[in-house]
Amino acid sequence: MAEIGASSQTNPFRWLVVAVPYLWLIVFFAAPFLIILKISLSDTAIAMPPYTPTFEGFGALGDFLSQLDFDNYQFLTEDPLYFNAYLSSLRIAAISTLLLLLIGYPMALAMARASSTIRPTLMMMVILPFWTSFLIRVYAWIGILKPEGLLTLLLQTIGLLGPDDQVQIFRTDYAVFIGIVYSYLPFMVLPLYAALEKMDGTLLEAASDLGCPPWKAFWKITFPLSLPGVIAGSMICFIPITGEFVIPDLLGGAETLMIGKTLWTEFFGNRDWPLASAVAILLLLALVVPIVIFQNQQQKAG
C-alpha cells in the first residue's frame, strides 16, 4: 500500500487520472447543485436574473447570507399542488416501472433463451429506436394516438370502431403510460437481459432433475437470480420517469400532474426561479433514497 501511495506522489499523471472524474463531478454536478440550492433560498424579483440577493463578492457575504431563507420550501408545503404533483409523479413512475417489468421481463427472457445466432438481431431490435431522436418518437405517438390518428384508422378499418367513433387516449394518463413504457423499455430490457443471459442453464436442468417443474423453477431459480437485473432496470427507469417532463407535456392532458411539468411551469411560465429551484431540490432529495438503495444493491451484487 505504501508503494502505491509513493508512486501516486511521484507520478503526477496518475494523480490527474484520478482527478478528472472528480473535477467532472464538481463542475457539472456539485457547482450547479449549489447554485440551484442558493436560488431556492432566494426571493423572486422582477430583475435580471429574476431573484435576489445576487452574489456581490465576499465583502458583502454576511448581508448576502442574511437575505437567504426557507420561504419557498414553506410555500411548497402550504400549496397542496406541489405535494400532489410529487405524489402523482411517484405514482406514475411506480405504475410505469411495474408495466415495464411485466413487458420487459418476458422480452429479456425470450432474448436470453433464444439461440445464439439470432440474439444479436434481437438485441439490435431493442436498441434500434435509439437511432431516432427521442422527441420524434414521442411525436410519432401523437400521430398514432390522436383522435383522428392511425390507431383510430386501424380500428375503424378492422371494424372495431364505428366510422364516427374515435379513440380517446391522446391527452390522458393512458397516453402518458404508453409513451413512458415505450420510451423506457430498452432501459428495462437491457439490464434484465444482462442478468438472465449470464445465468447457467444447467441450474434449471438441476432443478428439473430434483423434481421441480419448469413454472416453479422460474420462481425458485430464474427470478431470484435475475433480481440484480430487476432492481437495476427498475431504478434506471423509476428515477428518470419521476422527473419526466417531455412525455407528460406532449402526450398528457391538463389533468396529468407531474412534478417535471410543474417545475417547467414555475421556471418558464411564472418565471419564479427560486420556487422552481426549491421544487427541484425536493425532487432530488426524494430520488436520493431510491438511488442509495440502488447503490447498496449494486454493491451487494458486486
Binding site: 447457467d200 444447467t202 441450474l203 436442468e205 438441476a206 432443478a207 428439473s208 432433475d209 430434483l210 423434481g211 421441480c212 417443474p213 416453479k216 425458485k220 431459480i221 431470484p224 437470480l225
Partner: protein, 388 residues
C-alpha cells in the same frame, strides 16, 4: 477356464445370471442431431446396485445416453426401461433418477442446506423430515460445519460434496454422475473415488457414471461400457476390459499396450498345458509369437498381437532357450515413474516395444540404461490376439 481375469472387488455379478432382470434397460436407442448420430442403435442392461461406468472419448455419446436416462433428451428411436417401466415422455422432474452435474450446478443464491433440501421440498416432505435428511446428508459428506454457507464460499472439493449430497438426498433409484470428479486434483479425486464406492455400497443405490478417465472407471466400477462413436464396443468388469479387451480400440483406450501387426500361421494347435486353450502361432516380421487363446481367425489372416508393457520381461541376459515370444533390441528411452520404469526398446527393424518393470528394490547392481542391448520375453498367456 483354469485361470480367471484379475482381482474381483466383491461377489456381485448379476449380469452373469440369465434369470436376473435388468434394473435399467436401454433398448435399441438411437439419438440423432440432424445428420449427426450421437447414439447408434444401442442396447445396454444395467443391474440393481451396480456401479456402472460409461467410458469413452468426448463425443462418443456417453453423456447423451445419460441425459436421455435423466430425461433432458428424448431418444430419436428406441426406449429406456427402468424396472420394466417405459420412461418415454416422462419429464425429468417426474423421473426417479437424480444427477450430479459436471459443473455441479449448485444454486448460487441458496445456502448449502437449502441446496440439499431443494429436491425434498419439491416432494412436499414435512419440514422435520427434511431437516433430518439434510443433517444426515451433511454428515455423509462431512460438511456439517458449512451448512449455512453459499456455494461461492466453498472450495471446489466442498462444492462437489454438496452436489453429491444434493443428488443423493432424494434417495434416487439411480444416481447419475456426469464426470463428477473432473474438476478435482488428483489426490482429492482418488480419495473421493473411494468415498463414492463407500457411499454407493452403504446406501445400496445404482450408480451410473460418465467419464473419460479410464483410471476412474477402473477404480469405481463393477462394470464398464467402453463407447466409441455412439456404440458400445465392450461391456465387462474392469479386469476383463483390461486383460481381455475385445478389440484394438478397447485395448488402446484402456491403459498402455504394445500392438504388433501379425499374420496367423497356426490356429488351434497343440495344447501345451492341460486345461489351457490350444496355441495360436503368429508371425510378425521375423518375430514368432505363440499365444494360448481361442481365436476365431483363420490361418493367413492379418491379426494384431497385443501385450501390456508390465507383462513383458526385460533382461540384459539372453533367455535360456525359446525362440518364440522373444525380441532383441536397444533401450531407446526410459520413463521413470517411481513405482514403475517404462523402457522403450527399439527392435532391429525399428519397431518400438514398451516393457514396464516394477522398481521393487531401491538399489540394483546394474540398472538397465540407455543404449543397452536387452532381451524381451513374455509367457504364452501374457498377450492377446485381436481380430478387430
Amino acid at each position: 477356464m483354469a485361470k480367471s481375469l484379475g482381482p474381483v472387488k466383491r461377489k456381485f455379478s448379476p449380469w452373469t445370471d440369465p434369470s436376473a432382470t435388468p434394473f435399467i434397460r436401454f433398448e435399441n436407442i438411437t439419438k440423432r442431431y440432424g445428420d449427426f448420430i450421437a447414439v447408434d442403435n444401442l442396447t445396454l442392461d444395467i443391474y440393481e446396485r451396480e456401479f456402472f461406468s460409461l467410458l469413452g472419448p468426448s463425443g462418443c455419446g456417453k453423456t447423451t445416453l445419460m441425459r436421455m436416462l435423466a430425461g433432458f433428451e428424448e431418444p430419436t428411436s428406441g426406449r429406456i426401461l427402468l424396472q420394466g417401466r417405459d420412461l418415454s415422455g416422462t419429464p425429468p422432474y417426474k423421473r426417479p433418477t437424480n444427477m450430479m452435474f459436471q459443473s455441479y450446478a449448485l444454486f448460487p443464491h441458496m445456502t448449502v442446506e437449502k441446496n440439499i433440501a431443494f429436491g425434498l421440498e419439491q416432494d412436499g416432505l414435512p419440514k422435520p423430515e427434511i431437516r433430518a435428511r439434510v443433517e444426515e446428508m451433511l454428515k455423509l459428506v462431512k460438511l456439517e460445519a458449512f451448512a449455512r454457507r453459499k456455494p461461492a464460499q466453498l472450495s471446489g472439493g466442498q462444492r462437489q460434496r454438496v452436489a453429491l449430497a444434493r443428488s443423493l438426498a432424494k434417495r434416487p433409484k439411480v444416481l447419475l454422475l456426469d464426470e463428477p470428479l473432473g474438476a478435482l486434483d488428483r489426490k482429492l479425486r482418488e480419495e473421493t473415488q473411494f468415498e463414492l464406492m463407500d457411499i454407493q455400497h452403504t446406501l445400496g443405490l445404482t450408480f451410473l457414471i460418465v467419464t473419460h478417465d479410464q483410471e476412474e472407471a477402473m477404480t469405481v466400477s463393477d462394470r464398464i461400457a467402453v463407447m466409441d462413436k455412439g456404440i458400445v464396443v465392450q461391456v465387462a468388469t474392469p479386469a476383463e476390459i483390461y486383460e481381455g479387451p475385445n478389440s484394438r480400440y478397447v485395448a488402446e483406450f484402456i491403459g498402455d499396450i504394445n500392438i504388433l501387426e501379425c499374420a496367423l500361421t497356426e490356429n488351434a494347435g497343440v495344447c501345451l498345458h492341460e486345461g489351457h486353450p490350444p496355441v495360436v502361432r503368429l508371425e510378425s516380421d521375423g518375430l514368432s509369437i505363440a499365444v494360448e487363446q481361442e481365436c476365431p481367425a483363420a490361418v493367413g489372416d492379418r491379426v494384431a498381437f497385443a501385450i501390456r508393457p508390465e507383462k513383458v520381461r526385460i533382461s540384459l541376459d539372453p533367455p535360456a532357450a525359446a525362440e518364440t515370444n522373444t525380441a532383441h533390441g536397444e533401450v531407446w528411452d526410459i520413463g521413470y515413474l517411481g513405482d514403475f520404469s517404462v523402457f522403450l526398446v527399439k527392435l532391429e527393424d525399428g519397431r518400438v516395444l514398451r516393457a514396464a518393470q516394477a522398481n521393487v528394490s531401491r538399489l540394483v547392481d546394474r540398472p538397465i540404461t540407455f543404449g543397452d542391448m536387452v532381451w524381451l520375453t513374455w509367457p504364452l498367456d501374457a498377450g492377446l490376439v485381436l481380430t478387430r
